[in-house]
């Protein structure tokens, strides 16, 4: 998936597992950047009596690098606290929940927001903000959308924030991709699939009708740009920000006996990280994934070799015989893939794509880089920069961007001409796709913050 359960250890710790990260400029607030970090992936909506929630023992963070050194200049920290109204019931709610202060809502979650500057100076922006409930069902919560809207908080410092359950809008045909790299629309051309199928298949969105827990921030652009500038040009290095999210746990936990509380103590230790989608998932070898999750982006040069010669690029010509001959020839040269190194680790420099750059430095680091001077596209192309739409991935990431197909095309060689005009990509490299779009998500995106759809409700999902 994007980063759902992408590493062995974090796959066993869903509360701290970051699954998607988005950073984009929206039409309704073009002077702000929206950043959304999703956690607790693959939630089945019907999950009573213990509905999903953030971890009270997890430190969630969103980091922003404003000067290209791959170190955070701004960090937003989110700490959660769960409270019970009634300790004599097993129920999440004892009647309808019609407001955030409903007496019927038993298990509520609150959170604080703290901002750190580049020197580590802390400013608590809010101490007790409320999350919306999980979408139990239409009988328990007749107006979920309205309730969730009440959980959008405007901070005095200028940011807008939301933390709570949302529908997962990521789309991927997970079942086929990890069944020996099959893409159902091309299954009859697959090394093994061509013996099984004589027709193109229809992709299946494996994450449809599941929920996540989202932390969404909308920040005025002058607050994230170097020097606090309101206006910058696309070519200005100060227009580019690097974004990543992380989750950390305290280093020591001693389980209590006989009902005593646990002891949780020691420094925070990072257990999950996410910048570009799919980086840890399909670039980093399994043996290194847990280590990658524990490190900051400033250490990513040690993983650059896996970007320079990605395993998937070597597999494609084998899995789809005859379709990726030019890629196979390129692989044989063992030349480092400068296109992928730029896209994923340093950003695309000025002069490669007309009117665009999202490079802010030479430090190799996996961050979602967004040129904040690029306005939202009038007509979005789900293939982003590869599709000629510079407001989309890998210039930040919008919710509807088909990051799986974009990454497939890039790895297949479609972006090599950016750095080597002599290279002719295979026809398949510019045509390959997973066969899904945002239309394969059975919930509609919102037109305003926090943009991700209303979570699927437990009464009707699964159905």
């Amino acid at each position: 998936m994007s980063s759902h359960r992408e590493a062995p250890e974090i796959s066993k710790d869903p509360v701290a597992d970051s699954s998607d990260l988005y950073a984009f400029i929206s039409h309704d607030e073009p002077d702000s950047v929206t950043i959304i970090a999703n956690y607790v992936p693959l939630q089945i909506p019907a999950s009573g009596p213990n509905f999903f929630e953030f971890g009270d023992d997890v430190l969630y963070e969103i980091h922003i690098d404003t000067n290209g050194d791959a170190r955070p200049d701004i960090t937003y920290q989110f700490r959660f606290r769960t409270e019970l109204r009634n300790n004599r019931t097993f129920l999440y709610n004892t009647g309808q929940i019609e407001s955030l202060d409903s007496e019927n809502w038993n298990r509520r979650q609150f959170y604080s927001v703290t901002r750190l500057d580049s020197r580590g100076k802390r400013t608590e922006l809010a101490g007790r903000l409320q999350c919306p409930p999980c979408n139990v069902g239409t009988i328990s919560i007749p107006d979920y959308a309205g309730l969730a809207e009440d959980a959008v908080h405007k901070l005095k410092s200028g940011e807008k924030v939301f933390a709570g359950q949302r529908a997962d809008a990521f789309f991927v045909d997970l079942g086929s991709i990890f069944d020996l790299g099959t893409l159902r629309p091309f299954q009859n051309k697959h090394l093994v699939g061509q013996k099984l199928f004589n027709f193109a298949g229809k992709a299946v969105n494996a994450t449809d009708r599941t929920n996540v827990h989202s932390i969404a921030l909308q920040i005025p652009l002058h607050m994230v740009r170097r020097g606090g500038r309101n206006r910058v040009g696309v070519k200005d290095a100060g227009a580019v920000i690097g974004v990543w999210t992380s989750a950390s746990r305290r280093q020591v936990e001693v389980r209590g006996k006989k009902g005593d509380g646990d002891v949780v103590v020691g420094p925070q230790v990072q257990v999950s990280r996410l910048g570009n989608p799919l980086f840890n998932e399909v670039i980093v070898p399994m043996a290194e994934k847990d280590k990658w999750n524990s490190l900051p982006p400033s250490e990513d040069k040690r993983f650059a070799e896996f970007v320079a010669n990605p395993e998937l690029a070597a597999l494609l010509p084998v899995l789809y015989p005859g379709l990726f001959d030019n890629l196979a020839a390129l692989n044989k040269t063992r030349q480092p893939r400068a296109d992928l190194l730029a896209i994923l680790l340093t950003g695309i420099p000025d002069g490669v794509i007309d009117g665009f750059q999202n490079s802010a430095g030479r430090v190799q680091a996996d961050m979602l880089r967004l040129n904040t001077a690029v306005p939202p596209a009038a007509h979005e192309n789900a293939f982003g920069v590869v599709g000629g739409d510079i407001a989309g991935f890998p210039n930040g990431r919008r919710i509807a961007d088909d990051v799986v197909s974009i990454s497939l095309r890039a790895i297949a060689g479609a972006t090599v001409p950016l750095v080597d005009p002599r290279f002719k990509p295979d026809a398949a490299a510019t045509a390959v796709e997973q066969g899904l779009s945002i239309k394969n998500v059975s919930a509609k995106l919102l037109g305003k913050f926090p943009f991700l759809p209303t979570p699927f409700d437990g009464l009707n999902n699964p159905s």
Binding site: V252, K257, G261, V263, G266, P267
Partner: protein
């Protein structure tokens, strides 16, 4: 007591004795709990909260290296005398 990590704020043993003590004693890679008292959630801050629990991890018996976890911090000290006491408490 000598310190190889961040120094104790006021000189070692007294700093340790002011706090309730949770001791984890270890030899080699294995870790075992030898005594647990006063379990509660440690403070988020690493301030001088005398009531907050503290966890000791005996990392290297031969060198007397101990990690002391308190609040959101860890300090590494060497104290062979304390190591001997912990090993006796653990029945080793």
């Amino acid at each position: 007591m000598s310190s190889i990590g961040n120094p104790a704020p006021d000189g070692g043993a007294s700093w340790l004795s002011r706090r309730r003590l949770l001791a984890l004693a270890a030899t080699g890679a294995g870790v075992s709990v030898v005594s647990v008292t006063g379990l509660s959630l440690a403070s988020e801050s690493s301030g001088d909260d005398d009531g907050a629990p503290l966890v000791i991890s005996l990392r290297d018996v031969r060198n007397g290296t101990i990690d002391v976890f308190s609040g959101e911090s860890v300090r590494t000290i060497t104290d062979k005398k304390l190591v001997d006491s912990l090993l006796r408490a653990a029945g080793r």
